[in-house]
């Protein structure tokens, strides 16, 4: 049935190509038995061997945090550091707010508007970044964005009015779109079994920038004041050169050292014919017609959006409600962001661990449980009136809310292969929309006290996490429904028209489908349409 030439390459129904010779691809894939036949022959476009074990798509099968081997681990480190510096720049103003508000004569409304502006800009830029990653690659996306927003950071030392302040924070906030390039890049470099931990660690360590900045900026400000002897109103301006210079340096490093895919950069791969230019309309179409995109954009708004909101309000909350001084309130505020060191990665790890046993259904349950518990803890935080318990509740709450972010991106890479960029971007944008909405409803006016706002935000988290129940993958099932007879190939090939398939444009998706069979969980019976092995030539 299959002509001889197809033996060399995989065909549309998932029959494996030469790199998986000997494997029918129809048996369930158990954890730890990833096919390694192809490993010895795995080389990139230039014929270099990979430092890490790779799968058929040349994605790494492990994460070695202490290594900087190209391309996988080098990409990992470039990606998370770049994202961390962008977070640092976006939230560089809040720790210095007591000085800035005196210099510029800001009112509470101005500060609130600036906080919303800082996360609103990224709504648009995250959507665009998804498309850019799909079309020109994450390396260009990340580097270009960082170096274009760096001038906005350098404009902050020049600001002298409240409007100027709000505008500059708005433009700096665009660089939060590096989140999308980071996640997209991780999903391109790391195998689906470990994509949860790779995404979670990279994003979690990136988000830590929001905590680190609360400690670093006041320190830099102090050093400038003491050692250079500047006035307060000048010292904070000079301090802003630190995030600016860091961002430019990182942008250059990403541009020169980064690589889009394990096999090479988009431009080289396109030239060699290994990567096809995709059409924006098609990529966009398959993102907007997939209902899962919208559900995850909403739920992400109530884990990551909540995290951004808390980053903006938590220092003031502790300062006001518990009468702390600014330094202590700042230290407590920074611990919230610093929990990201392990909480978001753990969310991804939990997602991967649960998937090994229960597959995608496990990932969905994992996400729903973690995010709902986070919502309940948020309600408790708003109701806690003593300082010690409030700090403890805040720390546990931060763990769950950040783990939920990690768990979300354990699922996103499977929603679509063709439109991964736009869907990552839409989810990220949904996160920022959640932050804008939540700050606008609960924390702008004097209608609610801050503690009531926090409690109501918790209720909203629980409510907006319920839609996860409705996410259904035909090949893997959903939280309450088992899978149908469809296969992974059926699901991913539905994104390519017959014409595109005949041009062979879908091969990358088919390789991905093959590798994603791990999402069935352990010991699930074969469900493919033909139970017997097809012998070539028949």
């Amino acid at each position: 049935m299959a002509p001889n030439s197809d033996w060399q390459e995989g065909n549309a129904k998932g029959e494996p190509g030469s790199s998986l010779h000997g494997v029918t691809g129809r048996e369930p894939v158990f954890q730890m038995t990833m096919e390694t036949v192809g490993e010895k022959e795995a080389t990139d476009l230039k014929g270099r061997k990979f430092a890490l074990p790779v799968d058929s798509e040349h994605k790494a099968k492990t994460v070695r945090l202490y290594s900087v081997a190209a391309p996988h681990m080098r990409t990992f480190h470039l990606s998370w550091i770049a994202f961390m510096i962008c977070f640092f720049s976006t939230f560089a103003a809040p720790p210095l707010m007591p000085v800035i508000r005196d210099n510029l004569g800001l009112t509470k409304v101005d500060i609130g508007n600036a906080g919303i502006a800082s996360v609103a800009g990224a709504v648009v830029s995250r959507l665009l970044m998804g498309t850019i990653c799909d079309l020109v690659g994450p390396r260009y996306g990340c580097a270009i964005l960082m170096m274009i927003t760096a001038p906005a950071i350098f404009c902050m030392p020049l600001v002298s009015t409240p409007v100027g302040f709000i505008l500059v924070r708005f433009f700096i906030g665009f660089c939060l779109a590096t989140f999308v390039s980071c996640q997209f890049w991780m999903s391109s470099m790391f195998n689906s079994k470990i994509v949860g931990i790779a995404n979670g660690t990279a994003a979690g360590w990136g988000n830590m920038g929001g905590g680190i900045v609360q400690l670093v900026m006041p320190l830099v400000f102090d050093i400038i004041r003491r050692d250079i002897g500047s006035e307060k109103f000048t010292a904070w301006r000079i301090a802003f050169f630190v995030p600016g210079v860091l961002q430019v340096m990182m942008g250059l490093l990403v541009l020169t050292l980064g690589q889009d895919l394990p096999d090479g950069n988009y431009a080289e791969l396109k030239r060699e014919g290994e990567k096809v230019n995709d059409s924006f309309q098609k990529v966009f179409l398959y993102a907007v017609t997939n209902y899962r995109t919208y559900i995850f954009a909403l739920t992400y708004g109530y884990c990551f959006g909540v995290e951004l909101t808390v980053d903006n309000i938590i220092a003031e909350y502790f300062y006001d409600r518990f009468d702390l001084n600014l330094q202590t309130a700042g230290i407590i505020a920074s611990t919230f962001g610093l929990m990201n060191l392990f909480s978001r990665p753990l969310g991804g790890v939990l997602s991967d661990v649960v998937a090994a046993r229960w597959g995608m259904r496990g990932r969905l349950w994992n996400l729903w449980i973690i995010q709902t518990v986070g919502g309940v803890l948020c309600i408790v935080l708003g109701l806690t009136g003593q300082l010690g318990p409030a700090i403890a509740v805040m720390l546990i709450f931060s763990f769950f809310v950040q783990a939920a972010c990690g768990a979300t991106f354990g699922v996103i890479p499977f929603i679509s292969r063709r439109s991964l960029g736009i869907i990552s971007g839409a989810t990220g944008a949904g996160g920022n929309i959640g932050a804008v909405t939540t700050q606008g409803i609960f924390f702008m006016s004097s209608k609610y006290t801050t503690e009531d706002g926090i409690m109501l935000m918790g209720i909203m988290i629980v409510a907006c996490t319920l839609p996860v129940i409705f996410v259904h993958f035909p090949q893997w099932g959903s939280m309450f429904c088992p899978p149908s007879k469809a296969t992974e190939e059926d699901y991913y090939i539905s994104e390519w028209s017959k014409e595109e398939q005949s041009n062979g444009l879908h091969h990358a998706s088919m390789k991905f489908a093959e590798n994603s069979k791990s999402e069935r969980g352990r010991q699930s019976p074969p469900r493919s349409k033909e139970e017997t092995v097809v012998v070539d030539g028949v």
Partner: protein
Amino acid sequence: MASAVIMSFLAGALMLCALASSVEGGVLFSTLQKTLSVEAEIQSPVAPMGIARAGDDHLVISWVLQGDAAAREDAEYEKVSLKLCYAPVSQVERGWRKKNDDLHKDKTCTKAIATQKYTSGGNSTVWRVAKDVPGAVYFVRAYVLNANGTQVAYGQTSNEITVEPISGRHASIDVAAAIFSAFSIGSLLFFLALENVRGKRSSSK
């Protein structure tokens, strides 16, 4: 292992709790008597116009025990602490300058001008408006402190002083910002062009 992590966090939380400064109730402003009369005047090389420029102009502040105060009232008066306080118009929409009757929590008078020894004949001081004074409308208040440093009486000016702040900007910062921004965009374009040229060269091989 998870319980060890949780335990260490609760321990850390309790430590943070200990670090937090505890607040004791302070003197209530409404219990203080107004026994001093205070005057403040702007001294400026440029024609005053009621605006004091931070860093350049001076305030001449003089205080004296009010004529109708009974002589024995000032037995416990030790020091006089002069402060620059926000006028109500500058406290609107700014919770960090909020008035509170409890003087420990009150944020109206945050800028200290001077502390002088109390004499019944009164005293005066000349103070250059500091460069970190925000732009706002102010009045001057003098708190009388007893030997423990607690406020026992006060006096304040009836006129308001507007302070024009420094901008904090310098020409050198503006130039540096422009140079760094140009470098950022310029190096980006340079590297993109370089890759473009390299790409064309290898595809024409």
